[in-house]
Amino acid sequence: MIYTIMDTAYIKSLPFLIDGLKITLSITVIGLFLGMIIGSLAGLGKLSKNKFIRGFWSVYVEVVRGTPILAQALFLYYGVSEDLIGLNISSFTAGVIAIAVNAGAYIAEIVRGAVYSIDKGQHEAGRSMGLTEKQTMRYIIWPQAFKRMIPPLGNQFIISLKDTSVFSVIVVHDVVFMAKEYYNTTFEIFETLVMVCLLYLCITIPTALYLNRLERKLDV
């Protein structure tokens, strides 16, 4: 096994794949950052007393969770930006937006669940000493809820990282796209795809292990 992996056919594909991995990681990180903002708004929106705000974010969450990310990416890139508004956004930008919108919906549930899980007495203690709703959220509920969000957010990172692999259909030059380009000329399909999987695992396994440890340390 060690021998075959060190075989040049495997190693030679690496520089190409690593170029793709940089794109994969950039889209994941930027997309998740934006997704975190959207998800926080959506998660808190779903807890709002105002039923229009609640309804709006519920529809968003259900639509995104009920459709495949591949369709969302195609829709964003070809459907909305080209066909509907005639805007030419790069496939990279489309990928970032797709991750942001998609992860945002899942993060919304993470945020809602975490905020909801904080004991009602915390809110009451804050309000009864005269803090406003906003202050109570900011100084009391959110810091406690955020701690509980960290493990599922880490999990979402792993999911979104893998989700980016479908963006090769909108010509994002991610790992999978680069792999296809590479084996279309070299025909070393098996070797290249082994390397693709190994690259993903190099990120996902340490992340998962770290999350396990963190979860135990945070005691949530």
Binding site: D119, G121, A125, S128, M129, G130, Q135, I140, P143
Partner: protein
């Protein structure tokens, strides 16, 4: 100081408070007793609008709580509340629990608030716990911190909802001691409690609540030694 007139409170179809009239004078300690589910907590929570009032009127220092022009956060900052389950903020140190309100609501500087907090910790006998987190404290210590946290807002009234019910019996005494000191300093207090000893010794007046109304009220000796209402008699016979 507190006047309650014909207070009603419903949760949906369930009417929990069915017309409460009560007054609490300055520096008075009023104890509220009654069976579980009779509406004691709901009554207390209406006094600082943690529950929305369905009908009737509550005035604190003349401010009508349901009046739209009253700033509810202002009122709340003058009415301290101590909960059965303490509700300390677990992500903050003991001192930070106490200083949060003074800093954010009253606009004290961090140093001023710390001075206030440390003095109050000394008062409740927990000076050495300032930098600890609530999780490391015993129930009795937690409740004393919660009392200090309320006092830090310099309230005119303190509401206690079964402050010792969640405590191991041997820890109850310390908390009651702190409350007794407060009463002696002239704090106006409304205390929902099952500690009849405390009610007798410290209370100026006792309200017996049942089924959402005040069935009987009077001085502790009168309520405990010579209750008039059969409901009060049967309740007291069960718990004494």
């Amino acid at each position: 100081m507190i006047t309650v007139k014909d207070l009603h409170k419903s949760f949906g179809d369930l009417e929990v408070l069915k017309g409460i009239d009560a007054t609490v004078d300055e520096s008075e300690v009023v104890c509220v007793i009654g069976p579980s589910g009779s509406g004691k907590s709901t009554f207390l929570r209406c006094l600082n609008l943690l529950e929305e009032i369905t009908a009737g009127e509550v005035r604190i220092n003349g401010d009508k709580l349901t009046d739209p022009s009253v700033n509810i956060n202002d009122v709340r900052s003058q009415v301290g509340m101590v909960f059965q389950h303490f509700n300390l903020f677990p992500h903050k140190t003991v001192l930070d629990n106490i200083t949060l309100g003074p800093i954010k609501v009253k606009g004290l500087s961090v140093n001023e608030a710390k001075d206030v907090g440390l003095k109050l910790l000394e008062k409740v006998g927990l000076s050495d716990k300032a930098d600890d987190y609530p999780d490391s404290l015993s129930g009795g210590q937690k409740q004393r911190v919660a009392i200090a946290r309320s006092l830090a807002m310099n309230p005119k009234v303190m509401l206690f909802d079964e402050p010792t019910s969640a405590l191991d019996p041997e820890l109850v005494g310390d908390v009651l001691e702190v409350m007794k000191d407060l009463a002696e300093e002239g704090m106006t207090m409304v205390v929902v409690t099952h500690e009849m000893g405390f009610a007798k010794e410290v209370g100026d007046r006792v309200l017996f609540m049942d089924e959402g109304i005040i069935m009987e009220e009077g001085e502790p000796t009168q309520i405990f030694d010579n209750p008039q209402n059969p409901r009060t008699q049967s309740f007291l016979s069960k718990i004494l």
